[in-house]
């Protein structure tokens, strides 16, 4: 932990570093694979286009492309960023003097809650912008006016679940990896005992990391479409 002297803000330097690493990795992947763009896609361009189409599919399953097209860039960036963040903690963890430095940035509730809150705030912003104050307010009175308090609670619940789901999954995965790694390094017997579960859990963590990135983007689009579209 580090407090900047000017404003008294607290920084978890591990988070800061890992966020930057994740951002850098995402940027490099995207940047390198979009050099030499061709009408006939090859190699990495195919992969990037597949991701774009994938996110496009998520958006289209929730709202009109006319409304949802503006969230395309947000969706792609989110899914890549969260996926890379989830993967970063898997191969190794670096601990310096009792402090964990290398880990998934998404294994920190502050980071995931920030992303979740950003998404929810964006949904309110676009709800107001696209449907106007009247349409936005009417959204709270449907399907029944007396359910309005629940609707307000729902907004907070959405934020909380969106952020904590991601955090919980990744954090739990990292803890188990750390425990298994601890067992494996404890001795020969521990290594033998921990090897198979460790492999299995790594594979499962990759799966979870992918799924969670997908779920996060999916729910983002669901929440956005609730605010933006009329037919939901």
């Amino acid at each position: 932990m580090w407090q900047d002297p000017l404003f008294g803000l607290w920084f978890n330097l591990s988070n800061v570093m890992m966020l930057l690493v994740a951002a850098l990795v995402v940027f490099l992947i995207a940047f390198i694979s979009t050099r030499n763009l061709n009408l006939k896609p090859t190699g990495m361009q195919n992969f990037m286009e597949w991701i774009m189409d994938f996110v496009k599919g998520i958006i289209k399953s929730n709202m009109d492309w006319k409304d949802g097209g503006r969230f395309h860039v947000l969706g792609i960036t989110l899914i890549m960023f969260i996926f890379v963040s989830n993967m970063l903690g898997l191969p190794f963890a670096i601990v310096v003097q009792g402090d964990l430095w290398w880990k998934s940035p998404t294994a920190d509730a502050t980071v995931t809650m920030t992303l979740a809150a950003t998404v929810i705030i964006l949904s309110h912003y676009y709800g107001l912008k696209l449907k106007g104050v009247k349409g936005y307010t009417r959204g709270y009175l449907q399907p029944m006016p007396f359910l309005a308090p629940l609707k307000v609670i729902e907004e907070f619940a959405n934020t909380l679940t969106l952020g904590l789901r991601l955090y919980g999954n990744i954090y739990a995965g990292e803890i188990l990896i750390a425990l298994l790694a601890g067992a494996a390094t404890a001795g020969f017997l521990g290594y033998v005992a921990a090897f198979l579960p460790f492999m299995a859990w790594l594979g499962f963590s990759i799966f979870i990391g992918t799924i969670q990135a997908f779920i996060f983007v999916m729910l983002t689009m669901v929440y956005l479409s609730h605010k933006v579209s009329d037919d939901h």
Partner: protein
């Protein structure tokens, strides 16, 4: 434990606003940069391809329609040609029939004419032959008579006798 920093609220009584700001700014900057350097160009290319494919499809559709039109045209031309050929054959047949009739008629008339001419000529020749024979007979009779009588008959009797003979020869005929 080294997980302590990870847990929610593990930082104790203070909230790391700094992390929030860093997360937000990192994400926004990343999004901006990616949009500028990666997604923008990629979307452009994809849009371009979409347009290309759309235009290709349109072209293909157009050429399909055109070829269909041409095929119809060819088909109708072929049909026309066929009817025309039929007509020509029909005409030729008719023409042949007509000229056959004509030739036969002409030939028939010609042969009739030739027959008539032949008959006429034969009659002519016969007449000619008869008169020649008659003259010959007259001359012979005259000669014979002259020889038989030897100037016993006068010139006048002679002539009368000749004429009688001629008349008789005419009856014999």
């Amino acid at each position: 434990m080294f997980f302590d920093h990870l847990a929610l609220g593990a930082t104790g009584e203070f909230l790391n606003i700094g992390d929030i700001l860093v997360t937000l700014s990192t994400f926004l900057v990343l999004m901006f940069l990616l949009k500028k350097f990666a997604w923008g160009p990629l979307m452009g290319v994809m849009q371009q391809r979409e347009d290309l494919i759309a235009s290709e499809i349109e072209t293909a559709e157009n050429s399909r329609l055109e070829s269909k039109k041409m095929l119809d045209e060819q088909r109708s031309l072929l049909k026309d040609a066929r009817t025309q050929a039929q007509e020509i054959v029909e005409n030729a047949k008719k023409q042949g029939e007509v000229s056959r009739e004509e030739i036969i008629t002409t030939a028939r008339a010609e042969s009739g004419r030739m027959k008539e001419a032949a008959v006429l000529e034969i009659a002519n020749e016969r007449d000619k032959a008869i008169s020649a024979v008659r003259q010959e007979v007259v001359a012979l009779s005259l000669l014979a008579a002259t020889k038989v009588l030897e100037k016993e008959i006068s010139e006048e009797d002679n002539r009368q006798l000749i004429n009688e003979t001629i008349a008789k020869a005419g009856e014999v005929q």
